[in-house]
Symmetry: C2
């Protein structure tokens, strides 16, 4: 196996916000970056060609799902995940931890790992740190994650225990990892508790990871709590390594994350909303295209948007597709929603490089207010 | 309204087979041509950009469906069907006749037209020749159809009556038509009865249509019966007008149609099979990709196929998408199936121009036999 090197190049900072480039075996990743989610080795309803066209640089795929179906060994036999799903740019896989704790039935956790029932066929499965790494090595993503235990954000006793598992499993993941063309990220847990987050950040940054991820956020806590946690962690994380905020989020979440030092984001929100007929806007508003007010609306979703959908289709047409139950609407809305978030993050990135992030933010919130869109809380 | 001219240019003939160009207001249509079906103003699961990439020149959309939802007046208000669905090449609309007789509930037919219950909401609707033309003028397709009555292919008494309606309605459609940028085609009926088909062909060709369509085939009759009917009609139809065989078909149907003078085809088969996980081949074979033999198959559907799907994805990946119920598979199989039929017809067209249709056919049936694919009967 060829030894590939990863490196993270910081291009500029404005406050805590960072613009950089993460060099990976599948190309350079300008950061901050938003990654569409391709849970089952496909970003739902979108071809890789459409993903490339809408400007995606990084996608996330789920270890838990691929382990259960079609199986990581099958994907390895088919040449790895990049080849299997025909995505030649960087891929990130999570460790399966989050899904084991949110999707699987009948979990039993011990210090060594987790035994659970598959949500697909009820079969008994087991994930350990070693197994999670082996699966991710079969998949072959550029960025891979340690196996962690997730807890609800306010349950301090459970969070402390889960954090201990996460820390001990992080060390075992590092020991297990064998491929040099994959960057392993540690995951910081600790719920909404500042002391636990600080403890976790210090522990994880003490280990030899190529990047650091922040888990256990956007799971029910308030925006203010999320932001406090991000600031505590930002004070501890080393500047020279990329930071990944898992499972976030909305336009405001992305902005707030960047303002607190985050480089990488992923979220199912844009594609999930698309499949529920909702179009996102740059300012955080949402159009529910089922609404009868769009029946004869000749305008695109967003007149300023340069995506394929907004350049070619009216709200009236999109609503017609919804009423006629045509699956094309999931494709067209996914294209628009992903483009919106990717463009927003790219725009912020350029603002950081040009040192006009403050001006951007002022304008952004002015426009948002003038549109009557309430800030997220 | 600008007066646009249609003209049909015959480039070459080999036997009854014809290669030509049908000039329309939305561009030239090289014939023979296969039209994907976009029933509800979308070819299911495919964007117009993907349709263009896979080589589609003409698409068909359904008057019956668009009349019921979203309504032809809405589409007219939105700038017409081309603009509404973002398809700038030629469009053909059927008259609604076939759907009224196959989909609608509680039909009552009289000499003036048909009253029926909408299959969507049960509301009472009425179509007459005048109404069918008015709807199609609202939609604005390049090629439009007379309103006809369809009957089952063996019921002579009903066929005779339906043919009389079709003939009288054809005259009323001609009288009603007001737009010069639409080419109205007459429809020949008559089931499988040679004398009725001859009678219908003589009547319809006696009227001033820009092209002629053959209806009431591929509805349960044998292949031999279809071919006999096509030959009878070919002997009567004028050379200088395009001929359209409605709702056909399979690779062999297309070949057999071209060999009997047909220029234009449409069929839901490629996209419908795609949504049922079946991939078509040039030779008429089908791969049911659910089959477990494809679980670890690294090959594309067809190693010789140049479509986006075959160039980028394995059978193993497509099967995974099916098992994981990912809608992307409908898109990828629709692309492959449509590309296959469109390429086949384009290849035949070139063979007619190069006068090597006989060589093509010999090779085609040899390969088909060597692959163990039975001829259609």
């Amino acid at each position: 196996m060829t030894v590939q090197s990863f490196s993270f190049e910081l291009q500029n900072r404005q406050g805590r916000a960072r613009a950089g480039i993460f060099h990976t075996p599948h190309g350079d990743l300008p950061t901050p970056v938003f990654a569409p989610v391709g849970t089952q080795a496909t970003v739902k309803a979108i071809t890789p060609a459409q993903l490339t066209d809408l400007g995606a640089n990084l996608i996330l795929s789920n270890t838990y799902h691929l382990y259960l179906r079609p199986g990581d060994e099958l994907i390895a036999d088919m040449g790895g995940l990049h080849h299997f799903m025909n995505w030649q740019r960087p891929i990130l896989t999570d460790s399966g931890g989050f899904q084991v704790f949110s999707l699987a039935e009948k979990r039993s956790i011990d210090d060594d790992g987790v035994t659970f029932k598959s949500h697909i066929d009820g079969s008994i499965k087991r994930l350990t740190p070693e197994k999670a790494i082996r699966i991710q090595e079969h998949l072959g993503a550029d960025i891979i994650m340690v196996f962690d235990e997730c807890a609800s954000p306010y349950d301090r006793t459970h969070i402390e225990q889960a954090m201990q598992h996460t820390h001990s499993w992080a060390e075992r993941c590092l020991d297990t990892k064998s491929r040099n063309d994959q960057a392993l990220f540690g995951i910081i847990q600790g719920g909404i508790f500042p002391d636990l987050r600080e403890q976790s950040a210090r522990f994880i940054t003490g280990l030899d990871f190529i990047g650091n991820a922040i888990g256990g956020l956007s799971v029910g806590e308030t925006k203010a709590e999320m932001q406090t946690v991000l600031e505590i962690i930002d004070d501890i994380l080393p500047e020279e390594k990329p930071r990944y905020l898992m499972g976030v989020g909305t336009p405001e979440d992305l902005i707030n994350g960047v303002l607190r030092g985050v480089d990488i984001f992923d979220c199912v929100l844009p594609t999930r909303l698309a499949r529920h007929n909702a179009a996102m806007t740059w300012q955080g508003g949402r159009l529910n295209l089922v609404n009868s007010s769009y029946t004869r609306d000749p305008l695109p979703i967003d007149g300023d948007c340069q995506c394929y959908t907004c350049q070619h289709f009216s709200r009236a047409y999109l609503r017609h597709l919804i009423m006629a139950r045509e699956m094309l609407v999931a494709t067209l809305l996914s294209i628009h929603n992903l483009y919106t978030l990717i463009q927003l993050v790219q725009y912020i990135r350029q603002a950081i490089i040009d040192e006009r992030l403050d001006i951007f933010l002022q304008e952004y919130y002015q426009i948002k207010e003038s549109m009557g869109i309430a800030p997220e809380i």
